[in-house]
Amino acid sequence: MTIATLLRRYGTLIGFALILGFFWFNLPDTFMTARNWLNITQQLSMLMVVAAGMTIVMVMGDFDLSVGSAASLSGIVAGVLFAAGYPIWMTVGVALLGGLVGGAINGVLVSFIGILPFVATLAMLTILSGAAFVLSGGKTISGASIPADFSNFARGGIPLGDIGGVAVMLPNLTIVALVVVFAVWVLLEQTTFGRRLYAIGGNIEAAYLSGVAVRRLKLIAFALTGLSAAAAGLMYASRVASANPTQGSGLMLNAIAAVFLGMTMSEQGVPRILATVIGVLILGVLDNGLTQLSVDSYIRQVLVGAIILLAVAASSFSKRLRR
């Protein structure tokens, strides 16, 4: 394998390793600790779940801008149902179902009505976010209406015993994210469903002519993305023990960014779920490490952007060279 191939394949990964090495060197006591990493994974769990769902539609070459407001809405739906006294299992069930249905509507708009994914999901972004505002009256739902069992979920985890004298646990949110990633991995890489999505992404016309039920698959894929967004919304609500009609809005752009970052690791430029995980980690580790280094938050922003560009530059550059 030549150096060019190596860089093309692993450039972004090498960039990620350099970032890790830098923080490890500069934060020898706190960065590469189990505690910090469990923290990071917990902080990133919601983004991870949304990004995993986003990977599903992006495999087909589409994307879903409505995930952020779907997450907000699912939190609000849960908050409203909690306030009305419904039990947790039912509330969670309804919120997840809502996500699935919302995603399916995206799917119908894109595949049966034929609206461009950008227009359809942007309109859905507006609608879902409006719905979240209407349902909540624009207010943050918090305090006594949120059952303690629900908000304790995000604070709990499976105890891993003592590490260096501190009790360490595997956070529940991390576990959820891992389960979702695993499920999406199985779906995309191990099932005929996933293979067909990749086929659609490879050449939609050829896939159709080869007997792939393009429209139905698109619908299902969008529904699953909606489901994952709803799950992330619930995780978020549990973590902040409250629901606010805008709280998911930061997720969309970051989720798409994570998938695109991951795509730089694939030679064919296709999304892969494990690459998405690296993409999410790149985004998250920078925030964690730079905060610990007490870098001013404005300068941190500039650095995050610059570091991302550097991290992907090698792999992109060697991919662009003349064949």
Binding site: S142, V240, N244, N288, S297, Y298
Partner: protein, 283 residues
């Protein structure tokens, strides 16, 4: 050297900037190492950053966000025995204290001003933002006061899009309200829960050439742009000055006490506010 982290999702608000500056000024005197973290609106990220700085081993944390929403982070800090002070945040058992101005009192002041100026009679346009609890209570207080005056009708209760700071969208919204209510006198006052919408409304009124109708505009916060407009003596008649610097400094003093081992006496520390009108705006 004591390490203190200040974490807020609302750094874009001029008020927050003023607290943080005053806080930093005191901190500099005391020789602390201050790390200011802005999560740009993301509340869950506040929890994440609290976790990060706890991990880093800071001596105290200051937050400026509803504490019930970041309870997970506050718990982490408590477990690590790191005190957290709220700076205009809200009261919470997990906070050593919350330093703030009295939002309800401010809304009461400006809404009362509006009622007085229009003689308890006419249509009022409100600009509110219920998603942010401290601003939401202002809107609620004003609702209460306007409802108590039978002669006052709330024409529209507008939530502007604040992602751009709030001025431009408020102006666009006000343009539309003005267009829909063309008769002079059909709008008596604009009550805004903070200054940006008031500024936007003012621009719309001036652009529509209706500054002569005596529409009364009030804001809250007394940011510099608002002060300037109030000083001009136009439609923007009043705003309330929170003592941002006072809040920041008081929060710093609370931290200093905690570092020295003395816990603050009360769960809430109020810092006084002041109505700003044409007369005192220039100060």
């Amino acid at each position: 050297q004591a390490k203190v982290a200040v974490i807020t999702p609302y750094m874009a608000q001029p008020g927050t900037q003023a607290y943080v500056e005053a806080f930093q000024a005191v901190a500099k005197e005391k020789g602390w190492d201050v790390n200011v973290v802005d999560t740009a609106g993301d509340v869950a990220a506040v929890i994440s950053r609290i976790e990060d700085v706890v991990n880093q081993g800071v001596d105290a944390i200051v937050i400026n966000v509803d504490p019930t929403q970041v309870a997970a982070g506050l718990q982490t800090a408590k477990d690590a025995n790191i005190p957290v002070v709220g700076m205009d945040a809200g009261s919470d058992p997990l906070l050593a204290t919350n330093v703030t101005s009295d939002g309800v009192a401010m809304a009461e002041t400006t809404a009362g001003f509006v009622v007085d100026r229009i003689g308890g009679e006419g249509n009022v346009v409100m600009f509110v933002f219920d998603a942010f609890p401290p601003v939401q209570v202002r809107g609620a207080k004003a609702d209460e006061i306007f409802a108590a005056n039978a002669g006052i009708t709330v024409l529209d209760r507008i939530t502007p899009d604040v992602s751009d700071g709030g001025i431009a969208d408020s102006r666009a919204k006000m343009d539309a309200v003005l267009a829909a209510n063309p008769e002079p006198g059909s709008i008596k006052a604009v009550w805004a829960a903070w200054d940006q919408p008031a500024l936007g409304a003012l621009q719309a009124i001036e652009a529509a050439g209706r500054q002569g109708e005596g529409i009364v505009i009030t804001g809250i916060d007394a940011n510099p742009q608002a002060r300037e407009e109030v000083a001009k003596g136009g439609n923007f008649e009043a705003t309330v000055a929170q003592d941002f610097a006072g809040i920041g400094a008081a929060a710093a003093e609370a931290v200093a006490g905690l570092l020295a081992g003395t816990a603050p006496a009360d769960a809430v520390t109020f810092v006084p506010t002041k109505l700003v009108t044409k007369e005192n705006a220039a100060q």
